[in-house]
């Protein structure tokens, strides 16, 4: 494991990066360190957020300095991680991979060196976990797919992806929540809404949640898109 890097992130933040490559280990360290910084109550810290392999510590330059925050972070890094005791949950989410809903499945499968059928099987068999939430509200980054799914983002950005689209790059999947362009490839469609602004709990996922995808036909998906609620036919199970 590399030494964590401590880097500037704007005039009011530092970024602690645990690795330059995504791994389950680096992700677990980032999630645990985020909790540790949040619990430490460091003077002047305004916000702590984690991504896949890093943690951003935001601070108020009026109340503290970059040097003081860096020093606090260094001492927290030298402590042992607490055990992850958070309750885990499993989402089972229907997804359609047919021609109406998966325009780039064949292309992505080819880049991963497998047939479309094998690609679908690998995605549905994958033991996926919410490794980060971000880009857009509530949007989960799901990892990890097998190593041969380490495919690059495309050079050109795709516009106008439907919400609930399943997209892939660099060994991960995202359930798309944003109205924004992306370089990830569109390989499936769900009727799941990751963000529900009017609900009491606006964010469906928490980091650490487990996710299984279950393939359904395009016509089933059309029905779910038209008639189901924000869960889009998905079920939630709390694991021990």
């Amino acid at each position: 494991m590399d030494e964590p890097e401590i880097l500037p992130s704007g005039t009011d933040g530092i970024l602690v990066r645990f690795a330059r490559r995504l791994s389950d280990d680096a992700n677990a360290q980032a999630l645990a360190f985020k909790d540790r910084v949040a619990a430490a109550g460091v003077e002047g810290v305004t916000e702590v957020a984690s991504s896949l392999v890093s943690v951003r510590v935001g601070f108020d330059p009026e109340r503290t300095t970059r040097e003081k925050i860096t020093s606090s972070v260094r001492s927290l890094l030298s402590e042992k991680s607490p055990l992850d005791t958070a309750e885990k949950r499993l989402w089972r989410i229907p997804v359609a991979f047919g021609p109406d809903h998966a325009p780039q499945l064949a292309e992505a499968a080819e880049l991963a060196g497998v047939s479309s059928d094998v690609a679908i099987r690998e995605i549905c068999d994958a033991r996926l976990r919410v490794i980060a939430i971000g880009f857009a509200p509530g949007q989960p980054y799901l990892g990890m797919l097998p190593e041969h799914w380490n495919i690059a983002r495309q050079t050109e950005l795709t516009e106008g992806l439907p919400r609930g689209a399943l997209i892939t790059a660099v060994q991960q999947l995202i359930l798309w929540a944003a109205d924004a362009p992306t370089g990830w490839r569109h390989i499936g469609q769900t009727a799941f809404e990751v963000y529900r602004p009017d609900a009491d709990a606006p964010f469906a996922f928490s980091p650490g949640d487990k996710v299984r995808f279950e393939a359904v036909s395009d016509s089933t998906m059309n029905d779910l898109l038209a008639n189901s609620g924000p869960d889009g036919g998905a079920t939630l199970e709390v694991l021990d």
Binding site: E5, S9, V53, P137, Y141, E156, L157
Partner: protein, 339 residues
């Protein structure tokens, strides 16, 4: 509570304040005004708090009417505005009398204009903020027929306070600090970036603006396989095709395209307010120098408040001059010539 009625509106009107800090961990960026400085200018002029909600107007305003007298000010982009036949100058306090129409047309300079009223826009907060966040589906664009509650103005007397602001509409040299991914770029690419003339392209919104330039595309070797990482407004993202985007208030919270550096907050309003074709250059500065530019919201408001000055009205600006009794008694009628 008094109301502000929007009689008609351009396509880019939203309620904004300083946004919702603290939700980055859930994927929700802070959002808020594209030009934060304009909110502090409005607060300094009206004597209000900087987090009072205002109407942000992208490119074009609309017609507005209040049902109670209220002081107001238009800050940010220089908008062509008028009230009762008189031009409304930017960064200057006026009274909008109950029932009279305030007309705000197109931006003459800049992109984002702000209409602030003394009591603030009092729409229902969502997660402690009134800011519309379009990509997060919080709030919506304003349209003709909307009626917004506003706080009562306790003063209603305009002292014609004016604030002289520095130009932030003309591009120029923008200061940039290194970010977490600056080292992912080759030294030569960073130098190429610092030596390139950029133009603000046609593409831009509250999320970010795209820049165009001539010359070789910036190399992003391995940039398409990077681990997605946390973003802050001001970050300069180099998309896969080598095209830079500068991210603004409503940016995504995590992104995978590498960021060559970050525009310091003090210079970010100059990016937000740049119209298509505005020229930029970027200059990297040390982290310590960048940090030294960070001043707190309290200090910023205090400085701006101290800079507000009573405006001496030029008689040429006063459309209804003839109705003013300039001297007790009569005037010769020609003593204003040559003023």
């Amino acid at each position: 509570m008094p109301n502000l009625s929007i009689i008609d509106a351009g396509p880019g009107l939203t309620v904004q304040d300083l946004g919702r800090p603290g939700w980055k961990a859930c994927g929700l960026s802070t959002g808020g005004a594209a030009d934060r400085l304009a909110l502090f200018e409005a607060a300094a002029l009206l004597g209000t708090s900087a987090d009072a909600a205002v109407i942000e107007m992208m490119g074009y305003g609309g017609n507005f009417r209040a049902d109670d007298d209220t002081r107001f000010v238009v800050t940010g982009a220089e908008m062509a505005a008028s009230l009762g036949g008189e031009a409304v100058l930017p960064n200057t306090v006026y009274v909008l009398p109950a029932g009279e129409m305030l007309t705000i047309r197109g931006a003459k300079k800049g992109v984002y204009g702000y209409l602030a009223v003394a009591g603030g826009i009092q729409t229902e907060p969502v997660m402690d903020s009134r800011a519309t966040h379009l990509t997060a589906a919080i709030g919506r664009r304003l349209q003709g027929g909307d009626v917004l509650p506003i706080g009562a103005d306790q003063s209603k007397v305009a002292p014609f306070t004016h604030l002289q602001t520095e130009d932030r509409f003309s591009g120029g040299v923008i200061r940039v600090m290194a970010g977490p991914q600056t080292d992912f770029f080759a030294r030569a690419t960073i130098e190429q970036f610092a030596n390139t003339d950029f133009l603000r392209s046609q593409r831009g919104n509250r999320q970010g603006v795209r820049l165009s330039y001539e010359g070789d595309a910036f190399a992003v070797d391995g940039g398409l396989n990077l681990v997605s990482d946390l973003i802050v407004p001001g970050d300069i993202q180099i998309a896969g095709s080598g095209v830079p985007y500068i991210l603004l208030a409503e940016c995504q919270t995590i992104g995978g395209y590498p960021r060559i550096g970050s525009v310091i907050p003090e210079d970010l309003p100059r990016i937000a307010q740049a119209t298509t074709g505005t020229h930029f250059r970027f200059r990297f500065i040390d982290i310590a120098d960048a940090d030294a530019t960070a001043i707190s919201d309290t200090v910023l408001l205090r400085r701006l408040s101290a800079a507000c000055k009573p405006r001496i009205r030029d008689p040429h600006d006063i459309a209804d001059l003839a109705s003013y009794q300039l001297i007790s008694g009569t005037t010769a009628g020609d003593d204003l010539e040559g003023v």
